[in-house]
């Protein structure tokens, strides 16, 4: 099932709203919902939820490098030959992940990471449709990755809710790129996808 790009457009706006309203929360995650908060899911969770989460992580991990390559190739020089300078995964406000934490803590961190990545992918997809309208395979890959992330986000939330009664996790998003110049948009997208490739490998291994 494909979700229209409007959702991601909304997600692209969300960081701006966060910056406006939660100036201090844009870069740092907020605490999770207390244990005794009301938790209700719209649909019953799948019985084999963790397996699904693992499979989705593996799926993302298996396609992350291809997406990264597609992206920096589409940006043209100097990106393909200066990955260390332009696409290094030094995203400062990226949500942390601790592989040795409890399952609950790992799921919460995973939720924040996927939420962050989902929003950033929305920005990248929006930018690339304007900047590289003919890079159809890149658009397709970005959309496919975003689709899997949405499903993963839903599953993680379901797991948190059903097992740990966590109904809400405060999340943070990356910087909005809409006001940046084109070269900066390309660079930020490349850095984000480089980070994504790095993080998703670690997360997939942790689960």
């Amino acid at each position: 099932m494909r979700v229209p790009g409007k959702l991601w457009s909304v997600l692209g706006v969300v960081p701006l709203l966060l910056v406006l309203h939660w100036k201090h929360g844009a870069g740092s995650p907020l605490p999770i919902t207390p244990v005794n908060a009301t938790c209700a899911t719209r649909h019953p969770c799948h019985s084999n939820l963790m397996n699904q989460i693992r499979n989705q992580l593996l799926q993302l991990n298996s396609s992350a490098n291809a997406l990264f390559i597609l992206y920096y190739t589409a940006q043209g020089e100097p990106f393909p030959n200066n990955l260390d300078k332009l696409c290094s995964p030094n995203v400062t406000d990226f949500p942390p992940f601790h592989a040795n934490g409890t399952e609950k803590a790992r799921l919460v961190e995973l939720y924040r990471i996927i939420a962050y990545l989902g929003a950033s992918l929305g920005n990248i997809t929006r930018d690339q449709k304007v900047l590289n309208p003919n890079a159809l395979s890149l658009h397709s890959k970005l959309n496919a990755t975003a689709d899997v992330m949405r499903g993963l986000l839903s599953n993680v939330l379901c797991r948190l809710c059903s097992k740990y009664h966590v109904a809400h996790v405060d999340v943070a998003y990356g910087p909005d790129t809409s006001g940046k110049d084109v070269f900066q948009k390309k660079k930020l997208g490349c850095q984000l996808l480089g980070k994504y490739k790095q993080v998703i490998a670690m997360v997939a291994q942790a689960f």
Binding site: Q75, G76, E77, P78, F79, N82, D84, K85, L86, S88, V130, L131, N132, P133, N134, D181, V182, F183, K186, K187
Partner: protein, 977 residues
């Protein structure tokens, strides 16, 4: 005087006050110095925006002023631009002016100052510049942050062909920075210790997604980049025009040219402005715009179309009268009525344009895509036209379009309708030709005809009717129907003359008949064939009229003479024609085409006039004839190629070249000349000019020499291939003599040998019989010659045994004998063999002489024994014989041994049979050769040896039995007594 003084004082005071006023007005411009100058930076467009004010326009509502502006870069003394700005200044105005910088403003601090001057005619000269304002600084670097490197301008959009200046600014002067565009390093001008600028001249469009330009600091992980967007040049709209279809809407169209859209930059937009009405609309489409015509019937329109994008605009205008821009709508309801074979009526309708407008409609009739007829019809709403002169059974298309009849502007769209006219009877007779040949003695006529063209068929041909009428014996008509798919038929006739009518039938009726008369007599076929030359256009054939009563001529040929059928073609020619050019796309070089020219008599009978043969282009022969070598002698041989046909070659065979080469002979024979082959080897060439001469005798050759020859034909285009020479070796001079002697000898010897073999038995009997005939013995003649005339040879019939006495008959002997010699027939041993040899006649009662054989030929020892003994031979003696006794030699040896055994063993009394004779013969012969111990005969005083040969050992055939027995019956007159 006092009054004068008062008047003078008043005048001076008035004058003073007037001057004071005037001086006050004249010095007023000095306070018009620009004040409150403010400079800001528009980074997006690289503008320096200036804002200032002018005060103290005390006495004027407005004043035209001129402002001089100075702009410096980096430092105030570095003035890079000076310019004037003229404007009308109103009371207490705030003035604005912008300056576009080529260099990105972020890369350098700019300084601005200005001064002003009244430039209004209301103020008399002289006019003075005001003082300069103070320098105002515009510095964008302060807000850049602390990044080590900056590159400007960001996301610059320029039009293709324009110039762009790029700059970078480094925080560290020590950094070594290099910049690249599309992978190529670019070099710029250093403006400052940490600022460099790159000027890109006439940038070209590379891609819509922009071009990355980046700079990197060597030895550091710092890369900064910008994207430069170069758009296509905005073109002026082409073919801009407006028209109306209904006087309600004007539709303006144009060709927008190249799309200038870029990412984040939309394509150019179009605005339509009409100057008379002052109305303006933004067009929704890139190539068209609809303008609503006002009801007050504005007659003239002046439209301006403006194309605009982020970088500029282009415009184009058109002025026209509305009534001259009428483009009617496409007609509708086009129908064909009353369609016959040659006529049809077309009707159509148009959309009305106003109440008084008349439309001019153009009706086209198209056949096979071409306009055949064109008619103009003026109508209001309904159109109708009768099309005539149509061809039957033909598909046409009627097409209608209309335009304003008063002011032609454009044709409307077209409406068309296909229709097919009805069929009519074929309008022309078939082109018929015939070929008469004799099959099994009966003339067979093959009729050919060419299918009617679509123009003349007037419909689908259903069949052909062939009507045969006997002219010699009127007996009614014979009608044959031939299917439409056939282009001919075959008729078997007799020797009479026949008139044949051929017609083509379609649904509307038959065509006019084509008449041809044929006769069983083929006429004069013995016409000498002439040659005709082919050209690129074909064959030019001419002939001489014979009778002078011809109604026409027919030239006949085959397009593919080497095929069967040969695709017979013919061409009809009028009676006054004596030449024509026969051309066909099937004609090929190297093919012989035969043309036959017939004269058509008034009776419509064809008579052969001439025969022609020719080649479109003669080619050199491709093959050489198969040459047979005969009559090979030591000095000559004959070449023959009689199977070579000169008629089916690639050109007219004019003769042959005979090539001869030999290693033994360096000189050519008489009649030959030296020639060089393509492989540069030399040989001798003889030319035969008669193509029908197909033999050639090579003479004057050397015996026992190898000659190579080649026979190749030649045409006007050249000779055949010179590749395959044939070797011939001449024999020596005596070989034929030897052959004449030795061969008959060999034959004779063979004959003799064969004869001897076939008559071997006869020869044996005659020359060396197993048992010689005593009468033929040389000994006999020798004896006779030795004065012994009474000496004769005993006849066996005279030797009558008295009896056969069986002394002992042991069973084992028989078995032993049979076991020893299995090759003998057992049944023949049931009786003792010797019983056959002895004429034991039971009834023989008379006394007979005692027979004594004297065989001097092979048993001289016995004969010379001088005594006649009785030595019975038993089968028991035979098993001692080694080997089979089948050959005569073995047999004789066996007999000889038996004989010797019998000499030695019979005395022991083991014999089972005794021959008893009561006759005694006279002793004769040489007693010296007698054995030492001759056996003593028991009963007969003088016995001679008599051998009994078992029948199986001798194995005489029945015929030889008689032969064998012939040795025993002796002539009575010559036997011994």
């Amino acid at each position: 005087m006092a009054l004068f003084a008062v008047f003078q004082t008043s005048f001076l005071l008035a004058l003073l006050s007037l001057r004071a006023y005037q001086s006050e007005v004249l010095v007023e411009p000095l306070p018009l110095t620009p004040e409150s100058l403010n400079v800001s930076i528009d980074s997006a467009h690289q503008y320096l925006n200036l804002q200032w004010s002018v005060h103290s326009l005390a006495y004027y509502q407005e004043l035209k002023m001129l402002f001089q502006i100075q702009i410096s870069r980096m430092k105030t003394s570095n003035v890079i631009w000076v310019g004037n700005y003229s404007t009308v200044v109103k009371r207490d105005p705030v003035l604005h002016w912008s300056w576009k910088s080529e260099l990105p403003l972020e890369c350098a601090t700019h300084f601005v100052r200005m001064r002003s001057r009244v430039d209004d005619a209301k103020i008399p000269e002289p006019r003075f510049w005001s003082n300069w304002s103070s320098w105002k600084e515009a510095d964008a670097q302060k807000s850049l942050g602390r990044d080590p490197l900056f590159l400007f301008p960001k996301d610059k959009l320029v039009e293709e062909g324009s110039n762009v200046t790029i700059c970078y600014m480094s925080r560290n002067q020590q950094d070594n920075i290099s910049c690249y565009l599309e992978g190529q390093q670019i070099h710029g001008e250093q403006l400052d210790s940490n600022v460099s600028a790159f000027k890109l001249n006439k940038v070209s469009f590379i891609r819509k997604t922009g071009t990355n330009i980046f700079c990197k600091v060597d030895q550091k992980d710092v890369i900064k980049g910008i994207v430069l967007f170069v758009s296509k040049v905005l073109e002026e709209p082409k073919d801009f025009s407006c028209e109306t279809q209904d006087f309600k809407t004007l539709t303006c169209t144009w060709d927008p040219g190249t799309d200038t859209s870029l990412p984040k930059r939309s394509s150019q937009s179009y605005t339509l402005f009409e100057s008379f009405s002052g109305k303006k609309i933004l067009c929704e489409h890139k190539n068209s715009c609809n303008w609503q015509v006002d009801s007050d019937s504005q007659e003239m329109y002046n439209f301006t179309l403006v194309a605009e994008n982020a970088l500029g605009n282009r415009s184009v205008s058109v002025l026209f009268s509305l009534t001259h821009r009428v483009h009617p709508k496409t007609p509708y309801n086009l129908f064909l009525k009353n369609v016959s074979g040659t006529k049809a009526t077309v009707t159509w309708k148009v959309h009305p344009i106003g109440n008084y407008s008349t439309l001019l409609c153009q009706l086209d009739l198209l056949g096979e895509g071409n306009v055949i007829q064109q008619h103009n019809v003026s109508i209001k709403e309904n159109g109708e036209y009768l099309l005539s002169e149509l061809e039957p059974d033909t598909e046409y298309m009627a097409r209608v379009r209309c335009a304003d009849a008063n002011h032609f502007w454009k044709w409307s769209g077209s409406i068309s309708q296909k229709f097919i006219t009805a069929e009519a009877a074929p309008s022309e007779a078939l082109d018929v030709w015939r070929n008469v040949k004799s099959v099994s003695g009966r003339p067979t006529v093959t009729l050919f005809w060419k299918p009617l063209s679509k123009l003349h068929a007037n419909g689908k041909i259903l069949s052909y009717n062939v009507t045969v009428e006997n002219l010699d014996r009127p007996s009614g008509l014979e009608v044959h129907s031939v299917p439409a798919t056939a282009n001919g038929t075959e008729l078997t006739l007799d020797q009479d003359s026949y008139q044949i009518h051929v017609t083509a039938l379609n649904s509307a009726g038959p065509s006019p008949a084509s008449v041809i008369v044929v006769s069983g007599d083929p006429g004069n076929e013995e016409v000498e064939e002439e040659r005709v030359n082919g050209t690129e256009d074909g064959f030019s054939v001419s002939w001489k009229p014979q009778s002078g009563k011809a109604i026409g001529y027919v030239v006949e040929w085959c397009d593919h003479p080497q095929d069967l059928p040969c695709d017979l073609q013919w061409k009809n020619l009028s009676s006054n024609t004596t030449s024509t050019v026969i051309s066909s796309g099937a004609f090929r070089p190297g093919v012989r085409y035969n043309f036959r020219i017939y004269e058509i008599s008034t009776e419509r009978m064809a008579y052969l006039l001439e025969k022609k043969a020719g080649y479109l282009k003669e080619l050199a022969p491709s093959d050489n004839p198969q040459v047979v070598v005969s009559n090979l002698t030591s000095h000559s041989f004959t070449l023959s190629w009689k199977d070579y046909s000169t008629d089916s070659q690639l050109g007219f065979i004019q003769g042959y070249y005979v090539y001869l080469r030999s290693k033994a002979e360096k000189e050519c024979h008489p009649g030959f000349k030296k020639a060089t082959l393509p492989d540069k080897s030399a040989c001798c060439q003889h030319r035969i000019d008669n193509p029908e001469q197909k033999t050639f005798v090579m003479e004057n050759l050397q015996p026992e020499s190898v000659y190579e020859f080649l026979v190749t034909p030649y045409t006007s285009a050249g000779s055949g291939p010179l590749d395959a020479f044939t070797k011939v070796t001449t024999p020596d001079e005596y070989s034929h003599i030897l052959i004449r002697i030795i061969l008959p000898m060999i034959v004779c010897v063979l004959l003799i040998m064969i004869t001897c073999y076939l008559k071997s038995q006869w020869m044996k009997e005659k020359c060396y019989p197993d048992i010689p005939d005593p009468y033929k013995s040389n000994v006999l003649s020798l004896i006779k010659s030795k004065e012994n005339p009474h000496l004769t040879i005993m006849n066996v019939s005279d030797c009558v045994p008295d009896a056969i006495e069986v002394i002992h008959k042991p069973e084992g002997s028989k078995i032993q004998f049979l076991g020893a010699s299995k090759s003998l027939t057992e049944t023949e041993f049931t009786k003792p063999a010797y019983l056959y040899l002895l004429p034991a006649e039971k009834n023989y009662s008379g006394p007979g002489p005692c027979i004594c054989f004297e065989n001097l030929t092979y048993n001289e020892a016995a004969a010379d024994s001088g005594s006649c003994g009785h030595f019975p031979v038993t089968p028991e003696a035979l098993p001692g014989q080694p080997g089979p006794l089948t050959s005569p030699e073995n047999l004789l040896k066996a007999l000889e041994k038996n004989y010797m055994n019998s000499l030695g063993e019979t005395a022991a009394g083991e014999a089972s049979l005794n021959y008893v004779s009561q006759l005694a013969s006279q002793m004769s012969g040489d007693k010296d050769s007698l054995p030492a111990n001759p056996p003593e005969p028991v009963l007969c005083s003088e016995y001679k040896m008599q051998m009994a040969i078992p029948l199986g050992l001798a194995s005489p055939p029945p015929a030889e039995n008689s032969g064998l027995s012939s040795t025993t019956p002796l002539d009575q007159s010559e036997h011994y007594r």
